[in-house]
């Protein structure tokens, strides 16, 4: 039953893709059909995942197609189903959203291949998390990278987009190459590409090779996940893609790398030494803080969201890293707790980041700009998008009672539990990570106050923003679903933990659901750890009661309360957009405080009509130095370019010379492999 559902959903993705191709003459129809197929397929994906998770079952699918040697193995276990669930939920929302969003391109550009690549992309992600064979995994991983590359360069007439695509494809392939090496090392011990054999030989691989594989995986999957300093492509590619694609890329594609981390570190490379977990933890904390510090300085709303994805991947990795540390000290209950923190945050991030990218898409749809300095006052013009963005912003800033808070709370709880670790150094590292998470949380709030406040509040700064109109209804329906999920996952954490618990039971062999949930005297289900308890539901109920009392008391104080509306006092002149605080100004204090990191550059060019007396114009340029690009990537890429320049000498363009090369190579090969 479940396997049929799974296969049907894959087939539907393929059919949708083919429809898009067949109907290429009627571009929009083709796209709509393919999006509808994708939406149905993702519903089936949700059903598949739910069935596997609730039965805690494991389902194997083996095919033998085309080539006799290679088996196509797929495995649906709770871990992969959890990811299928996340991917399918986001795919469904994004597909419905796309039906509205693609109207942006009507009569503007060729969208023939959008539906085709889109469906293949969704299908590839589902297959990545369900592949049970290194060979199949690499194929679908590559497929995912390639189709997402085509989606990134969708607006290819823009040179910045082409550059983003190039950086993405190059970095993604470096990652794939490292993964391939890791798989070959495992193959040498397992004797087959099947993940099952990798699991069997997990304990027999010598420590040295394990460590090598560990680092290969960090880099290989780390590039896809966008951890610092391998994040370079992420803030370039995600904003370049159309918003419906960014939703999926930021929401779930980067999570497939997290899936890879979990598969490897908890199944193929067990038992892992504690320092592995510490490295993951430190990488997570660094990505979190640096990601949000760069997001803070961004003025392009989609780049801001992309940097914030780097931050959130960091938070997820903190959870995973803690889980690994606890596991290596054999504290399985704590390991499960940290895993809950990581996986909860993973789902949360998928939901609110998709919501925020959707809202960014709405803004772009109606104003044609992504620069928040050109926006303002949208709350009165886009009355439904604004509250949706606000819910997303509150969730991502971990404000209770929304979902972000729950996972942040679990992260803090698992970091606090670091005192159970025997090593003093690791204890101290966990606590410093706690401080980093706290700082990150505060910076996220600032960043999203800026994003929401500057783009939605006050007076429009440009004509674009002034003329903004609300987007088609279909785009809200899907995002309303996400906003509802944000609230639901914030109020009923025990429900989500029940799902994650199935994953824990599978990969850690530990069922801690009884230990982390209980009932209070109001008979409400609450979550708890060895430190404390939390009941967002009753906190909300009390908040609402108190709100009611406050409103009642205020009414009694002055029953005929009225509000008078006047213009804001701006020292005697009429309020105008120029007087508003800008995004740059809002984050200026942070630029000063963290100037060591940002290395801000300031340039003021004054031109005079009469020298030194009458100023004609002042040009002001203030930027931050992208230190990773400048000190890490540029030297490396320059080095590679120099080497390839040298290597060009042997490309003389003479066919006889090339034949000679082939002949020499052949001779050498014959000599060595007689």
């Amino acid at each position: 039953m479940v396997e049929h559902l799974f296969i049907i959903s894959i087939i539907l993705y393929l059919v949708g893709a083919l429809f898009a191709l067949c109907l290429f003459k009627w571009q929009m129809v083709g796209n709509y059909v393919s999006f509808i197929f994708a939406a149905i397929a993702s519903c089936l994906g949700i059903a598949t995942a739910a069935m596997v998770l609730f039965n805690s079952s494991t389902i194997r699918l083996d095919f033998q197609l085309f080539l006799p040697v290679i088996k196509y193995n797929f495995l649906l276990d709770p871990l992969s189903s959890y990811f299928i669930l996340a991917i399918s939920v986001i795919s469904f929302v994004a597909s419905v959203y796309s039906i509205g969003y693609t109207r942006l391109y009507v009569n503007k550009r060729d969208v023939r291949f959008l539906g085709f690549t889109y469906n293949l992309f969704l299908m590839a992600m589902i297959l990545v998390v369900s592949a049970n064979n290194a060979f199949v995994f690499m194929i679908v991983w590559e497929l995912m990278t390639l189709v997402s590359f085509f989606l990134v360069i969708f607006e290819h007439e823009n040179p910045a987009t082409r550059k983003a695509g190039l950086v993405y494809i190059v970095m993604a392939h470096i990652g794939s190459g490292l993964l391939a090496i890791a798989f070959f090392i495992l193959l040498a011990y397992a004797g087959s590409f099947s993940f099952d054999s990798f699991r069997d030989v997990a304990s027999q691989i010598p420590a040295v090779y394990k460590n090598i594989v560990f680092f290969l995986i960090i880099f290989g999957f780390g590039i896809k996940a966008g951890i610092f300093p391998l994040h370079l492509w992420l803030p370039m590619a995600h904003p370049a893609a159309p918003s419906n694609i960014s939703m999926i890329m930021s929401g779930v594609m980067i999570k497939t790398a997290i899936y890879g981390f979990i598969r490897f570190y908890f199944e193929f490379l067990t038992p892992c030494p504690p320092w592995w977990g510490v490295i993951i933890l430190i990488i997570g904390a660094t990505s979190a803080i640096l990601g949000i510090l760069y997001a803070l300085m961004e003025r392009d709303i989609k780049t801001l969201l992309a940097y914030s994805s780097v931050e959130n991947v960091g938070i997820i990795l903190i959870g995973i890293g803690m889980s690994m540390i606890f596991k290596s000290y054999n504290q399985m209950a704590l390991s499960s707790l940290a895993m809950i923190a990581g996986l909860y945050h993973l789902f949360n991030h998928a939901v609110f980041k998709c919501l925020l990218f959707g809202c960014a898409g709405n803004i772009y749809y109606s104003t044609h700009t992504k620069n928040i300095e050109e926006l303002g006052g949208l709350i009165k013009r886009m009355q439904i998008t604004a509250p949706l963005f606000l819910i997303g912003a509150l969730s991502i800033s971990a404000i209770p009672p929304l979902n972000g808070f729950i996972s942040e709370w679990f992260i803090f709880q698992s970091l606090l539990n670091g005192f159970n670790i025997p090593s003093v150094i690791i204890k101290i590292i966990t606590i410093i990570c706690g401080a980093v998470v706290a700082l990150t949380g505060a910076l996220v709030a600032t960043c999203f106050i800026k994003a929401f406040g500057i783009s939605f509040l006050a007076i429009p700064r440009t004509k674009h923003a002034e003329k903004a109109k609300e987007v088609p209804v279909i785009m809200f329906i899907s995002m309303g679903l996400l906003a509802a999920l944000c609230v639901f996952m914030g109020l009923f954490p025990a429900k989500i933990m029940m799902i994650i618990n199935h994953v824990n039971t599978q990969i850690l062999g530990m069922n801690i659901l009884k230990a982390v949930t209980s009932y209070d005297w109001l008979q409400m289900k609450i979550v708890r750890t060895n430190f404390t308890e939390l009941s967002p539901k009753s906190a909300t109920v009390f908040g609402l009661i108190l709100l009611g009392i406050t409103l009642g008391a205020l009414f009694l104080m002055r029953p005929k309360f009225i509000r008078k509306f006047y213009e804001t006092w701006t020292c005697g002149i009429a309020p105008e957009p120029r007087l508003e605080y800008t995004a740059t100004a809002f984050t200026k204090p942070f630029k000063v405080v963290f100037s060591n990191l940002y290395k801000p550059r300031l340039e003021v060019n004054t031109t005079y009509s009469v020298p030194n007396f009458f100023v004609k114009s002042i040009a002001y340029v203030g930027e931050i130095t992208p230190i990773f690009e400048k000190y890490l990537y540029n030297p490396v890429s320059n080095f590679v370019l120099r080497i390839s320049d040298k290597a060009r000498l042997i490309h003389a363009g003479n066919i006889h010379l090339y034949l000679a090369y082939i002949f020499i190579t052949l001779l050498i090969l014959i000599m060595f492999f007689r």
């Binding site: 204890k427 709030a445 906190a539 008078k564 000063v592």
Partner: protein, 316 residues
């Protein structure tokens, strides 16, 4: 715990926090006035102000949206919820299960989030300036706050404020831990920063370029202003309550007896009064710091709290 105590205690806590918070402000103002050789306004002046404001209509900026009008309620109610989560007179907090100190910190963030948004909402430059600075200060304060709270939590083994207080009440030798002194010092600095007192922020100034919190709430009037002022008063009182009932829990009732609560209340007033007096001394003897010196001070708090944790792990 019986149902009556479950109902009486929260109400009592709300009454104490809501009722006493203007008095704390009035007390600080009075003491500062005395230091400046003025007679100063009455102790109860903040109450008169609140009542006056609550009876007035409000003037709202044309550019402002519903965010601006919702902010006072969100801020006020979030602080009220926090008031239910903090042990005030008795160490058994009836709503213990609802959340812990992490929830409290993030509920403060909820109020701040909306205040900062509404500071941008009116299109006035002063608002944005205030909001931006407030976020900078609170972001810098957050790690130190979290770590000092963690130090206490790790000493006791819980992040629940009620349980922390009762654990310290049960064995007061726990309080002699040297790391707690460091955490206490760090938390003091953080509280000064979070409540916007001198030397971080001057609550009395209305000079454009020096306003932080005041700049943020500049556009509010009438009922809205009353709610925000009251909320900020309660925030001060709640943070002081957390400080005294965590580090100096002596006299806090552990049950719910009438005499116990009376003694607890008397001692509570004395302790809060003492700290309010200290704030008054501090405010009278220091000038406001330059904005970009504040991170240094908060950095000190952060280092203190890191040392607290390290000493806890290494020594304890």
């Amino acid at each position: 715990m019986s149902l009556t105590s479950n109902i009486i205690l929260p109400i009592l806590q709300l009454i104490v926090i809501v009722g006493l918070s203007p008095l704390v402000k009035g007390f600080i103002n009075k003491i500062e006035a005395r230091f400046q050789c003025r007679r100063g306004p009455s102790l109860f002046q903040p109450y008169y102000n609140l009542i006056k404001l609550l009876r007035k209509d409000a003037v709202v900026s044309e550019t402002a949206s519903w965010i601006f009008r919702a902010t006072p309620y969100v801020t006020f109610v979030s602080i009220l919820v926090i008031a239910l989560l903090v042990p005030v007179l008795s160490s058994c907090v009836p709503l213990n299960f609802t959340g812990d100190v992490i929830l409290i910190i993030y509920l403060f963030a909820l109020g701040r989030f909306f205040l900062a948004l509404s500071s941008l909402d009116t299109a006035s430059a002063f608002g944005g300036m205030g909001g931006s600075r407030e976020m900078m200060i609170s972001s810098m304060a957050e790690p130190a706050m979290m770590l000092s709270v963690f130090t206490v939590s790790l000493t006791v083994g819980t992040t629940n404020l009620g349980n922390i207080t009762s654990a310290f009440l049960n064995s007061s030798t726990l309080l002699l831990n040297p790391s707690l002194f460091l955490a206490f010092a760090a938390l003091c600095i953080v509280i000064i920063a979070e409540t916007g007192r001198i030397p971080i922020d001057n609550p009395f100034t209305h000079l454009e370029l020096t306003m932080v919190h005041e700049g943020m709430v500049l556009e509010f009037s009438g009922r809205y202003l009353a709610l925000i002022e009251w909320a900020s008063g309660m925030k001060l009182l709640i943070l002081l309550t957390i400080l005294v009932n965590t580090f100096l829990p002596w006299g806090v009732a552990s049950g719910l007896t009438f005499t116990g609560l009376i003694i607890s209340f008397a001692l509570y007033v004395v302790k809060i009064g003492f700290f309010a007096f200290l704030i008054a001394i501090l405010e009278s003897s220091f000038a406001k710091l330059r904005l970009f010196r504040i991170p240094n001070l908060l950095g000190t708090a952060f280092i203190l709290s890191i040392l607290a944790i390290i000493s806890l792990y290494v020594v304890g």
